[in-house]
């Protein structure tokens, strides 16, 4: 049972990815879902910390994640985040669905945890929680039992 804030958020990220990518997703729908979530994250954060603030966090998360998935590393720095995202979408779409899902999940977790180390769990939660899909009543019942 997840208890800590960060565990709960990991659950929420997994749930959101699964919901948005559909039942048995192919890589391209995973890629599309990923992009959708990123846009939402960015839309919520940019007003507060500025688009450049979001870009900086995103680049750092990408760098951290590509340690485990070297093919994710983007050659040629200083890309606009829009280009960066488009690039990632393409790369994800070429992978196996499971791998794409795992990479997308890792990237989001890395990003949110990076944020939490900077501004704390609570504030991260306040800013980003609306992005995640809430637990469905069924799974809640499951969790409660």
């Amino acid at each position: 049972m997840p208890t800590t804030d960060s565990e709960l958020r990991r659950e929420a990220i997994r749930r959101t990815l699964a919901r948005r990518a559909g039942g048995t997703p192919d890589a391209s729908s995973v890629a599309k879902a990923t992009l959708g979530i990123w846009h939402q994250v960015s839309a919520r954060l940019a007003p507060v910390i500025g688009a450049r603030g979001v870009d900086a966090l995103f680049s750092r998360s990408l760098q951290l994640t590509s340690a485990a998935f070297p093919w994710l590393a983007i050659i040629g720095e200083n890309m606009e985040s829009a280009d960066l995202l488009a690039n990632i979408e393409t790369r994800l779409a070429w992978r196996e669905p499971e791998t794409a899902l795992e990479v997308s999940y890792t990237l989001l977790v890395t990003f949110t945890e990076l944020m939490a180390t900077l501004i704390g769990e609570s504030l991260t939660g306040r800013l980003l929680d609306p992005v995640w899909v809430p637990p469905s009543p069924a799974s809640e019942k499951e969790a409660g039992s």
Binding site: A46, G50, G53, G120
Partner: protein, 496 residues
Amino acid sequence: MSKKVIIHRLATGVPGLDAILGGGLPELSFNLIVGPPGSGKTTLAHQIMFALATKEKPALFFTVLGEPPLKMLRYQQQFSFFDLDKVNESIRFVNLSDDFVTGNFDQVLARITREVENVSPALVFVDSFRSIMLEARHQPAGTISPQQFVQQFGIMLSSWQATTFLIGEYEAESEHHPVYTVADGLLSLEQSVYRNSMVRKIQVLKMRGQATSPGMHTFRITSPGVEIFPAPIVRRDTVDGPITSRPLRSKTRVAMGVPRLDEMLGGGLPSGYSLLVAGPSGSGKTILATAFLAEGVRRGEPGVIVAFEQTPSHSWVRTLDDLIRAGQIGLINTRSLDLSIDEIVQHLTDLIFQMKATRVVIDSLSGFELAVAPAFRDDFRESLFRMFAVLSNLGVTVLMTSELEDRYIDLRFSPYGSAFLTDAIIVQRYIEVESHLQRVMAVVKVRASVHSTEIRRFEITEEGIVIGDPVLDYEGILGGQPTRVKVSSPAEGGKP
């Protein structure tokens, strides 16, 4: 009936700020908070914002270039006023840096207007103003100038029905900015570093429509946030404090808790008086002060001690410790070296009210001077005067100790010329008698009262101070080398 507009004053939630503003922040005013980097501008703004923002009266905080918002959020949430529940609820942070980089001032104004219209905030903050001015230099020709921007911004502000704040660094004097004229309120923060101490000061340079407290006020930033220590105003005994209503200098006398000392003082220390106990190191000043407080406790007169000196654990110190621990005596104990006297006075006043204290001990003025930041030492006498005035207004009886170099060539009571400020003086000294040091004590002054002029020997025992008979068998005591005189009275050998 008056049909004049009533200006509501907002309680800022910053301790001491409302007082120096002259009763709070006028609602719908346009204020500037200026000061060098690190002077606490953003913290002050945040503290005001978190105190005032509610769901019904939300706040908008625009960040512009200056401090990266992530950093700001990271550090500001360390303060206890930073209420996470208010973020995105009643407080919205909006970053404008992208608008500044990509657009021009027109666009920035449009963006600000849009955000304000969406939220209809009661409070608007823009941090920092200087970044806007700096950015202005890179604006393409043909767009509006910073002056125009400020003017338009000012006009917009007045139409929003919001209390607004621009936060910024002070530009050089040469660049006298129109915004300073437009603003209703101007708060200036500064920090000065002198030797090894840092002192923060705040000044209300302008606040339309109300009488502010003039001059510099010190403040401190700790985990609860900013706390301002308004410089006490020496009240004129006119409207708010008529002399007749003060029962301060009544005829009642305060018992000192040392046998025979009351007698020397002419029946105890007149209540409301300030007494200076001057003497060399180890002469028994603190013990006298302790006895004074302990006697108060015994008589149901609570006391407060401001201690600047480390005291060893003697039996009489333990008495003091016990009384403090039992809550019968309030303690202000400080060893930091960056205090302002105003800060001490603030704490002291609070504690006096809280304890309903009538007796106050300051031990010692010498330690006090050391604890006060070097920047204030030049004004030490002046500040002492203010402190005495405040204490005297409160009607408490004050005992201060002052370390005195034992000089035998002159008779001095304090190194600060504070002697004339006090109502009564007791001096303690060492004398050499037959190759032994002995202690003597005399009452030098008790304003408007008869008192003993005898020099008496005294001893410090486990029970405290024991005052002996007058020294009749020696003369030249104050010179430090008494010579025996022939006395016919039986008081000879008047050992304590």
